[in-house]
């Protein structure tokens, strides 16, 4: 099947113009993957849109910036709040046209361009079987026994790693560098991306991993494993929003608008939990599947908006690098 597809791509580099309009959606690899929400979303949207939704997977922001206004993208899905400033400044994105009041988020959402479709709290996930104490604050994490090892992601190459240094900065302010120095003995290693770190954790190499408070839901649902738990910190957690936006230069504006509306629909929202393992952004907790509603969640939210995140990014990352390079 795929081979014939490849052959046809080879033979006709520019495929014949389809009769139905094509909605090109740029998405991260994990999103468009067979094991991500992409396929279900495509099938659901194509039921009603009279269009052909095509995912194009890869690095979102660099790609759209390289392509500029000549981009093929109609929709970009999977951006994150810590890089939206750069995305916004390109002027390539249009108003999302949806009512922010329909969102059910831990913070008030006022952005008219980037629309959250799912979210989760950045959290440390641990293996309850291997831990002698359950950390419930950043200080508990520092006080873990020396043989309890943590693996985190590098803020210079990973968006979740960046969310962590911003979170620590928001909690510790001037003392963030000191915190990293104190945590450093427990850090086993730093990985370039989330999947390497999570792999080290599930393979038993590390006891604690930087991930999301919704990560345990995968283990509960798919593996009936309840030993993976998210540590809930009393200082509050940093929420991680995934965003969707419409590209102003789209050649199918009506279909793109229909897609933005579809993102807020219950059809789209109910695909999210079991495919992207995160909270749907437009549903309140009583609409979530039971396993998500039962996940431990923090009482408090610590958040830096786009401007604050952009201002702090270079200095906090440098602070982190210096503290961990000693």
């Amino acid at each position: 099947m795929k081979i014939t597809l490849l052959i046809s791509t080879m033979l006709s580099a520019t495929a014949a113009v389809a009769e139905t309009p094509v909605l090109t959606v740029y998405a991260p690899d994990y999103f468009a993957s067979e094991w991500g929400p992409g396929p279900a979303i495509e099938a659901e949207f194509e039921k009603t849109c009279g269009c052909d939704l095509q995912f194009s997977a890869g690095d979102l922001l660099p790609r759209i910036m390289l392509e500029g206004s000549s981009t093929d993208a109609d929709i970009v899905i999977g951006l994150n709040t810590d890089v939206t400033k750069k995305a916004r400044e390109t002027g390539l994105f249009a108003e999302h046209g949806q009512d922010n009041a329909d969102l059910k988020l831990p913070i008030e959402w006022t952005d008219g361009t980037f629309l959250p479709f799912d979210w989760a709290y950045v959290s440390f996930v641990y293996n309850a079987d291997k831990m002698s104490t359950m950390p419930s604050s950043f200080e508990d994490l520092v006080n873990l026994p020396a043989d309890h090892k943590i693996v985190i992601q590098d803020p210079r190459s990973s968006i979740s790693g960046l969310a962590l240094v911003l979170w620590v900065k928001a909690v510790y302010g001037d003392k963030a560098a000191d915190y990293w120095t104190r945590l450093s003995p427990n850090i086993l290693t730093v990985t370039s991306g989330w999947s390497e770190a999570y792999g080290l954790f599930t393979e038993g190499e590390a006891d604690v991993v930087l991930s999301f408070n919704t990560s345990p839901s995968y283990h509960i649902v798919a593996e009936e494993d309840e030993t993976k738990k998210a540590a809930i910190f009393e200082e509050g957690h940093y929420p991680y929003f995934e965003l969707v936006a419409k590209v102003s230069s789209t050649d199918v504006p009506d279909v793109a608008d229909a897609f933005m509306e579809f993102v807020m629909s219950s059809e789209f929202q109910s695909i999210i939990p079991f495919t992207n393992w995160s909270y749907p952004a437009a549903q309140s907790s009583d609409e979530w599947p039971e396993v998500f509603a039962n996940l431990p969640a923090p009482a408090k939210t610590v958040y830096l908006n786009e401007q604050q995140a952009a201002n702090l990014r270079n200095s906090t990352v440098e602070e982190w690098r210096n503290a961990l390079s000693k």
Binding site: D29, G58, L61, V83, R156, S184, V190, S195, Y198, T202
Partner: protein
């Protein structure tokens, strides 16, 4: 003459394939030479770990390849093929195998624990070096193995006739071969390790182990600073060029001999055989334990792989075949010392920069995503050439020096000489090279990351997708499939080449 023209023009075309993307980036991003303190630290660390990795890999390869060259035993050829596995696997798969052996809970620490010893941590510079040696030792062994094989058997016979002692034999017969091969082996491994990124960071234990490649990645992904990414890529290429020039300057070219078969009785004294086989055993344990761990981890999940993994495997084969044919063609057409040096330079260009640069250059003309297939085929071929050319070139030189004059006396044309004299004598290295190119292409992840899409997912890409989708068991199963495919490619084509080779 005609031959020289073809070789040099192919080499220049080859150079363009990877020099153009960098130029493209430079033009797109402009030039702004400015390196921060952390960039300088990254450059220093990158060069340091690459030098140490190259020295250690080659140092370990000298005695082990010598033992492998002079001892014959059952399964020798298969062992040599299987030893290439770490070199061709996607890094994250190979690392997971290494951690199953040397990680915190790995077999090695369990063994130490059973002896009442303290656990040893792999994380740090030592971990980076361990893994780089694990990855590159197979390559160093291959290069030297051909070197030992190129020492004319008469030299050994004469040395025996003259009653030379072991030291004199080493100095007169073996040292010149090492002087001719070691600098090149070190240069190529140094260049490979220059662009290490995920390995260095993960095993280095933190940002102390930051390499230039990470800075490139950061500049591109977060800062969208194309100028900086391009300049850092040039720094990498610059160090690679220096290494290649040094290796060429140090290296002395030798006449290649007719080679020996491992039947010389003087190596079959009991002690020597025991020492050699002991060395081969240690090498095999070090190299094969992580590979066996990958198989042990993944084999139970091989049967339950989703069908998409199998079709991704088919896609990989479908890309690897034309790519390997192209690679062999380029290697033969570029079989010249200039081509050899140029090809090593290609290894220093990070796949990210190569992909982005190509993207920038061709986008004004065609949508790169419409021609992903061809880009991947081309880049996989180009990136395998440094290895295949290294295997093919000495044999071409040998055939030319042995039969060149004879063929010219018969007034044979250049084409005729290649068709009837040289190519039939190349079947052996061509077979292995084709298998190696196939395996490298099958295992390649670098190029596909930027241009990959679910429709033409390759097997390494699918393994990455499974890992990001929490499915580590399936990813482990798919890794075993990939490992089997790579080894199968090498064993089969190496075997075919040997079978039909004319000696």
């Amino acid at each position: 003459m005609a031959q020289r023209v073809v070789q040099i023009s192919t080499s220049i075309l080859y150079l363009l394939v990877f020099a153009m993307p960098i130029l493209g980036l430079a033009i797109y991003g402009g030039v702004d030479l400015h390196f921060t303190a952390s960039d300088i630290a990254a450059i220093k660390f990158t060069v340091l770990q690459a030098i140490l990795s190259a020295v250690l890999s080659v140092a370990a390869a000298i005695p082990t390849s010598r033992a492998l060259a002079r001892q014959n035993f059952k399964g020798r050829e298969v062992l040599i093929s299987v030893l290439s596995a770490p070199f061709i696997l996607p890094v994250i798969v190979a690392i997971s195998g290494v951690l199953l052996i040397f990680g915190r809970e790995g077999l090695f620490n369990q063994f130490l624990d059973s002896l009442g010893q303290d656990a040893v941590s792999i994380y740090g510079l030592s971990g980076i070096l361990l893994v780089h040696v694990f990855f590159n030792l197979p390559l160093a062994i291959r290069i030297l193995l051909f070197g030992w094989g190129a020492i004319p058997i008469e030299h050994h016979r004469v040395a025996r006739g003259l009653n030379l002692n072991a030291w004199a034999r080493f100095k007169i017969i073996e040292l010149p071969m090492l002087v001719s091969r070691v600098p090149a082996a070190m240069a190529i491994i140094f260049v490979i390790c220059l662009s290490s990124f995920a390995v260095a960071l993960l095993l280095g234990g933190g940002p102390r182990a930051t390499t230039v490649e990470l800075a490139i990645y950061q500049a591109f992904r977060f800062d969208f600073d194309i100028a900086k990414a391009g300049q850092l890529a040039l720094v990498q290429a610059g160090f690679a060029a220096v290494a290649i020039i040094i290796s060429l300057a140090v290296m002395k070219r030798l006449d290649v001999g007719i080679g020996y078969l491992p039947t010389e009785p003087m190596w079959h004294s009991r002690t020597m055989r025991l020492v050699d086989l002991g060395m081969i055993s240690i090498l095999s344990i070090f190299m094969l334990a992580p590979i066996l761990a990958v198989i042990y981890r993944g084999l139970p999940h091989l049967a339950e792989l989703p069908t998409s993994v199998w079709s991704a495997a088919a896609t990989s084969v479908f890309i690897a075949l034309p790519s390997s044919v192209l690679c062999i063609l380029i290697s033969v057409f570029m079989a010249h010392r200039l081509g050899e040096s140029i090809s090593i330079l290609a290894l220093s260009i990070s796949p990210l920069v190569l992909g982005v640069g190509l993207f920038v250059i061709i986008r004004p003309y065609i949508n790169p995503f419409d021609v992903t297939f061809w880009i991947v085929v081309l880049l996989n071929a180009v990136l395998a050439v440094p290895f295949t050319l290294r295997l093919i070139l000495p044999e071409i030189q040998k055939a030319q020096s042995d039969f060149g004059r004879l063929s010219r006396t018969m007034r044979m044309s250049v084409g005729g000489m290649w068709a009837w004299v040289i190519l039939p004598r190349l079947l052996r290295p061509l077979g292995f090279s084709f298998g190696l190119a196939l395996a490298l292409s099958l295992g390649d992840l670098g190029v596909i990351v930027l241009l990959g899409s679910p429709e033409n997912a390759t097997l390494p890409y699918q393994i990455m997708q499974l890992r990001t989708g929490y499915r580590l068991d399936s990813a482990a199963g798919a890794s075993v499939l990939l490992l089997m495919m790579c080894l199968f490619a090498i064993v089969i084509f190496d075997g075919l080449g040997r079978r039909y080779a004319k000696h």
